[in-house]
């Protein structure tokens, strides 16, 4: 059996986070009443003309910079022509021959090695409207409903080089891409709202071969998981064909999420000729270097750079740095808290541990956490002062999330202040030692492990409020070990 190499390239559409559409002033807000955010331009009414949204160009440049692309000083808008009811002008304004950005890359960490995925281009285009068919599809539907609120929202299309080598790598790439676009506030990348969409091209070739195999294109991928699953299915399907000596047909295939299979939609020979030509209404777009520099100045620290800095500056592990920079909000949350507490280990443990756990359980992001970084810093400060134990602190945090009260108030109200004074602890320790002669004997016999049991008993007796280090210390003193 041949050893097959998987070759994948992705085409991603991301809606731009501009307030207004790319060629008119209509709002881009999601979820408005159908056809309430439309005007003559985005409806393609006769006599209307497109006006390019400058901010959309800037966001596309931002995306290009985040993806290490060259920003072309001269690019063109073209008409991509086809008939569909949700396409109001029967053409989409896009960029064909001369895109705004070309030739970039994204770096992925795959099993501890850095993989570089090439970006062929990033270009600017407009969204179509949304069709809802009363039936299986447009041809069999009794009728179709059309909502043009989405028509004319600015999009970027990102096309990768065929550099991706596994379905998992495709998913990792998409996660990284989403991170970059969210970091730079180019797109919110919500697949469930359709603001990020992906088509995948895949082929196989014998490992070592430099020629590409016949590829198929997969559509209807509604989640990153679907991308990976669909590609996994397609790898097996193509492999089976090739190993049986049959040909892979160049075609577009539809991913059926429920059945976990791809189905042929149409062959590439039947593919439409879009008759691209330069849109005579839009002059070539000139972007001079000073504009690019102004946009570059808007860029935040990008996730890779931030991860590296977290490792260098705070001494975090690669794993912790990756997790904390996996969203801009989370990294901001971490750094805001760190600014007050100044203990990177402590802060990272709490943010990655208890805070993330609670947020995930409640479906929230760091940005919308009811416990703000300052609040968390208040709690961690109490830990640093030995005012609460780690165990109690977890309960305090839970209370903070549910009541919104500051840590100090909760500790005070609940009487959870850690007991560290020798007198109170001595009394509890004496009781515990008397009640557990066996373990005491073990300790004296040199079984250091038994100390832990005794400390645990004291903690239990104090309802978690005793300072465990102190208790440990005092037991050792008393038993003279």
């Amino acid at each position: 059996m041949a050893d097959w190499e998987v070759v994948v390239g992705l085409e991603i559409h991301a809606e731009l986070l501009t307030k207004s559409k790319v060629f008119c002033g209509c709002s881009t807000e999601f979820g408005a009443a159908p056809n309430s955010q439309v005007c003559p331009v985005c409806l393609g009414l006769p006599g209307s003309l497109p006006l390019l949204n400058k901010r959309a160009v800037e966001l596309a440049i931002k995306a290009g910079l985040a993806l290490q692309c060259r920003i072309n000083q001269f690019s063109m808008f073209d008409r991509k022509q086809y008939f569909y009811p949700d396409l109001t002008k029967a053409y989409q304004i896009s960029q064909d021959g001369l895109p705004l950005c070309s030739g970039g890359y994204v770096e992925l960490l795959v099993e501890d090695t850095v993989r570089r995925i090439g970006i062929n281009r990033v270009h600017l285009e407009e969204e179509a409207g949304k069709s809802i068919h009363a039936g299986e599809d447009i041809m069999s539907a009794a009728y179709s409903l059309l909502d043009y609120n989405r028509a004319g929202i600015g999009l970027i299309e990102i096309v990768t080089e065929p550099d991706i080598r596994s379905p998992e790598e495709a998913r990792l790439f998409l996660e990284k891409l989403r991170l970059l676009l969210q970091y730079t506030e180019v797109s919110d990348c919500k697949m469930e709202e359709g603001s990020l969409r992906c088509d995948a091209n895949i082929s196989l070739r014998p490992r070592g071969s430099s020629a590409f195999g016949v590829k198929t294109e997969i559509k209807n991928l509604n989640s990153f998981r679907a991308v990976q699953r669909a590609l996994e299915f397609e790898v097996e399907r193509q492999k089976a064909l090739l190993e049986a000596g049959e040909a892979v047909l160049p075609e577009t295939r539809h991913w059926d999420e429920a059945q976990g299979m791809t189905f042929s939609m149409r062959s590439k020979e039947e593919a439409a000729d879009y008759r691209y030509f330069p849109d005579p209404n839009l002059y070539p777009l000139k972007v001079d270097p000073s504009w690019v520099e102004a946009v570059r100045a808007e860029l935040p620290e990008l996730p890779d750079a931030r991860r590296d800095r977290f490792m260098d500056e705070y001494g975090l592990s690669l794993y912790a740095a990756e997790v904390l920079t996996s969203s801009r909000d989370l990294a901001d949350y971490f750094e805001e808290c760190l600014a007050e507490v100044k203990d990177p280990k402590l802060v990272s443990n709490w943010v990655m541990g208890e805070v993330q756990r609670w947020l995930k359980a409640h479906g929230l992001e760091a940005a919308s956490s009811p416990v703000r970084p300052k609040d968390l810093a208040g709690l961690l400060g109490l830990i640093q002062q030995n005012a609460v134990s780690n165990i109690v602190a977890k309960d305090v945090l839970e209370e903070m999330f549910t009541t919104g009260k500051p840590a100090e108030v909760i500790v005070e109200e609940k009487g959870w202040k850690q007991i560290s004074d020798d007198e109170s602890l001595e009394a509890m320790i004496l009781e515990v030692l008397e009640a557990n002669p066996g373990p005491v004997a073990d300790v004296k016999a040199g079984k250091a492990k038994a100390i832990g049991f005794l400390v645990g008993q004291v903690m239990k007796a104090s309802k978690g409020k005793a300072n465990p280090q102190k208790v440990n210390e005092l037991i050792r003193q008393r038993l003279q070990v």
Binding site: P40, L45, G47, L49, F83, K89, A90, M139, L146
Partner: protein
Amino acid sequence: MQFNEMTIHELRRLLRAGEVSSQEVLEAVLARIDEVEGEIGAYLALCREEAFAQAQRADEMLSKGDASPLCGIPISLKDNFTTAGVRTTCASRLLENYIPPFDAAAAARLKEAGAVLVGKTNLDEFGLGSSTENSQFHCTRNPWDLSRVPGGSSGGSAAAVAAGEAVAALGTDTGGSIRQPAAFCGIVGLKPTYGLVSRYGVVAAADSLDHVGPMTRDVRDAALMLQAIAGWDPKDPTSARQDVPHYEAALTGNVKGLVVGLPRELMGDALDAEVKEAVFGAANLLESLGARVEEVSLPNVEYAMSAFYIIISAEVSSNLARFDGVRYGYRAAEAEDTVSMFIKTREALGQEAKRRILMGTYFLQAGNYDAYYLKALKVRTLIKEDFEKAFQRCHVMISPTTPTAAFSFGHKTATPISMYKSDIYTCTANLAGIPALTVPCGYTQGGLPIGLQFMGKPFEESTILRIGHAYEQHAGLPVRRPEMEVKANG
């Protein structure tokens, strides 16, 4: 003379002096319409009630001393300018009942200036044609000879102005659609520089070639109309940020020292003998007024018509695709599914529109793009360069506007190429984007008007208006009005 037959500047004087009211002028125009519209067929829609309301407002403005020269002047618009609340059909069944929600920029500027909109005029469907015979509603007749076409595609506007059914009109010009009908109907027509007048609200035939311009009784009126509509419009992405000069002030009557180029390629064999004679006569007159006439060359102009029809067809095929029956306009009944709805709806397009769509689709196909469309763009660039070079030697150029005077109905409809050749002298200015003006320069023996074309450098409308005006003042053409009743009966 009747008020409806006067020029804008004559009426301006009378209106300001209070010797006539806007409402009286409008009444005269409407009376004329009632009298001859049955013969001419210039209009697709009349706006009587709105017009009276506008005339009343104009009279109020005039009584307060409003200085706009167009205040109270009854004008008409070609029916491919969108008008808020007023049906805009483009002479197509696809838009038979389409009422736009907004005014075209040029229409809005005329309204602001106090002009009174009489109605919407006939055209070849979507502006595709040179005789107005491609209107899907009715033909328009040439007031000079009712058996002949008024030219096109702005044939309704030209006929309305020539027949006294409007004082002035707006047309659009994609390859000669203002100038050719103006020449056929014996009036003045101006296609300004690309970008000088906003295209916002003009239903596009071909965006890179479409221009908006005035159709008037004389050159001074053209200057006044242009003044009102010219200037940057933020709603048109191809609008030029260009200062607008005072055009009427340019009409000095003095052409001494102007060098007039006569492009030898535009005086070729296709030219009718009477037209040729009229153009040479005009050249002589201009020399006698102190201009110097020199032969110049536009070597690539012989490819202009081919390039022009490739580009216009390509853009038309794209622009007319949106009329699919989904959102507005005509939708074919009883379609089985969406695709058959598209197809059946679009069967309602006229022959010429279909022809252009098919040609344009062909030229833009993946395997044909380079050989046709791209090559046509290259020719377009060469023609622009030809003009730039020639304009280093002269200030303006003159040529015939059309190869012949108005032709008869049905004369060219059977052979599209012969119809396309009507644009042979005009379409070059659309390719180059330069301003071009047609002024009457004589009559054929059969009494049909002949047009003389003046072409200028980009944004030098003042220069062609100045020389056109000087020519008009000294040409000494017998003042003739079309006498259609006589012709109709004879």
